[in-house]
Amino acid sequence: MTELQVKEYPTQPLKCWEQAKNIRKNYYEDYLRAHEKGGLRWAGGAWTFSAIPAGLGEDVYCVTGEPYGATVAFFKDFAAKCHDATEAAGFPRTLCAYMRNYWGSILLDKYILTDGTVVDGYPVPDFIWQDHICCSHGKWYQLVKWLEKKRGKEVPMYCVDVSVGYPTDSDIEEYKVNYIVGQLNDGIEWLEKVTGRRYSDQLLCEAVWNEIKATSLWAEICALNQAVPAPLDEKTMYSLYVMGTLMKHKPECVSFYQTLRDEVKERVRRGIAAVPHERYRVITDTQPPWGFLKIFREMEKYGAVSVGSLYTFGLIGMWEYKPDGTWSPRSIPPQKPQTREEALRAIVEWTMHKPEWAHFYLPEVKTKMMTDIVKQWKVDAVLLHYNRGCEGLSLHIAENRFGLIQAGVPVFPFEGNMGDERDFDFAGTLARLTAFFESVGLKKLKE
């Protein structure tokens, strides 16, 4: 095939890549070995108020469910065993794929590390600290508790109800904040009771402040991707945003995002591209099919780069509309909280502005955020993943498609599943993606 001549940008690997790999590796190993170090283990979702258990001490380690489910999905052989185990236990394959991967891991009594090493004996948490963000999250750990009980382990569980909607105005109503803060106050008493530990408000304040800084920093990093050429591609961003889903309240996360932010700024200054032949910019939506990230490499053959998504930007990153109408990183509060009450109010007010809430409540708000990303990040088209593995984030996605089309944005929808490879047709999706690229006038640069 004749190679088309297009502009080639300089590119280079991220310097902090190894650091990112090590942080993630240590995170899963720390959870596994927490008891050997005299520490505590807890389990819960990536959206949960993870800064709250941090008040129990610096030797408290968690593993968050969704990233763990995604890690399982990446290793397809292990994922297949997890699916078999959950289906054999009577759970339907239409349930949340992360949840099924997680349950499967418990049912198999095996734990997987980031390099694919499968360890015998699933590490039982000392307690579960969860919040109800969607119908699956409401049941996820209830079933974990039940599965552990069947193995003779009693795991106490606390759940926070966060169903107060998404604040479209800049401020969230006081009564909604009070409702969640009240549950967190009760939760702290519950944590002291079930662990027998004395709770430190000072550690809580540190953790809350870390979380606010880390999530604002991630948004700042994503905003740098407005540059042409994009300094980061979304496939790489998946390995970086994950720190925020694992340990957004930890100083390591803040420190890593500061390092990354500085490096990405430098890449923008020097015009370093993630994809050397960038000539068509797309964004995606919702979690990708984790077992098939190679689809991003196929896109690069057309000079197409995914510069992110509302999901990658807003699952962890905190954003707001500025007076000039731009969607920008959320300004952090003027000062660090000093008391338990201040810390709880600060983290609730901050967290409830997470853009991803709009998925559940207000499709038109999500569409507006997506169209604003299209404008600000100079995006040519949107690839929408109709993700059969996640009811929550797929909710209203067809409405988002209509909204984007009405706004004049080319949209390519494809069906798949973030965590169950049986629901993703790689060859078929690639054929349709090829047709889409051809329909917008792109030709393959090289094989």
Binding site: D425, A431, A435, F436, S439
Partner: protein, 261 residues
């Protein structure tokens, strides 16, 4: 200028040769296990019909799911490959210049394409199962013990409506067997099958919207039993051009003649 379009589909390979925008030859044959060999034989037949040699054809564009099998491979040596969606749009525009919506139903795949001036504006393709495509009719014809060519005419003899599932070939076949055991007439079952396919295709096409003129192409367009229920589902009259199964190959030939289009 002399160009050719080669559409290597799931079941048939089709070739159209154009001389200055006019069709001078068409040929088609079943695709065998050796895709290149089958397509090459069809290409050779078309060359014979046109009285041309391969060297006189200035550019060849391939399309269809087997397009890469003939790309830069002798004896066809297609210069370029384009997706079915792009070829369908160009071909439909060639035969019906006012076309805004193209519906292509082939052996394994159904497509709905929104078109403007022969260019694709939006499109949708059925996912995974061929339940809404030609293979489905073939499978159901086997279950009914009727020649597939007779299925359309048979369905037009019925005025009854029997609900049927067209989401899965396997389940639908079981349903047909149940209907046979329930003493439902072959005419009624044949109509139910066509209604089901029309329902499935229309729900897919409606995702991109239906705007007149609507053109139906692909092998299934030859089936007289399919157009009436599809028109009913879409609330739109449908144009079936002459030689609907060659429209994609024609589009590829048109693209070959107009590389900058």
């Amino acid at each position: 200028m002399i160009t050719a379009g080669v559409d290597v589909g799931a079941k048939f390979a089709k070739v159209v040769i154009l001389r200055d925008g006019q069709v001078v030859a068409r040929a088609k044959a079943l695709v065998g296990f050796d895709v290149l060999k089958s397509a090459s034989e069809v290409f050779e037949t078309a060359l014979k019909e046109s009285g041309l040699s391969r060297s006189e054809v200035q550019k060849v564009v391939a399309t269809g799911m087997g397009r890469n099998a003939v790309l830069q491979k002798p004896p066809i040596n297609a210069d370029e490959a384009v997706s079915e969606v792009v070829a369908d749009a160009a071909g439909a525009h060639q035969v019906v210049p006012t076309v805004k919506t193209v519906i292509d139903v082939g052996a394994e795949e159904g497509r709905g394409i929104k078109v403007e001036g022969g260019k694709v504006k939006d499109f949708v393709i059925n996912e995974r199962c061929a339940a809404g495509a030609g293979t489905f009719v073939e499978a159901m014809a086997r279950a009914l013990e009727v020649n597939v060519e007779d299925m359309g005419a048979l369905s037009l003899k019925s005025a009854n409506t029997i609900p049927m599932n067209a989401q899965c070939c396997v389940f639908a076949e079981s349903e047909v067997v149940s209907l046979i055991h329930s003493k439902i007439s072959k005419e009624d079952i044949a109509k139910a099958i066509h209604d089901a396919i029309a329902g499935r295709i229309s729900s897919m096409v409606l995702r991109v919207g239906v705007e007149r003129d609507v053109v139906l192409i692909g092998g299934v367009a030859l089936n007289p039993g399919f157009k009436p229920p599809l028109e009913k589902e879409l609330h739109a009259s449908i144009i079936v051009p002459e030689f609907p199964e060659f429209v994609s190959a024609l589009g590829a030939a048109v693209i070959a003649a107009n590389p900058t289009r």
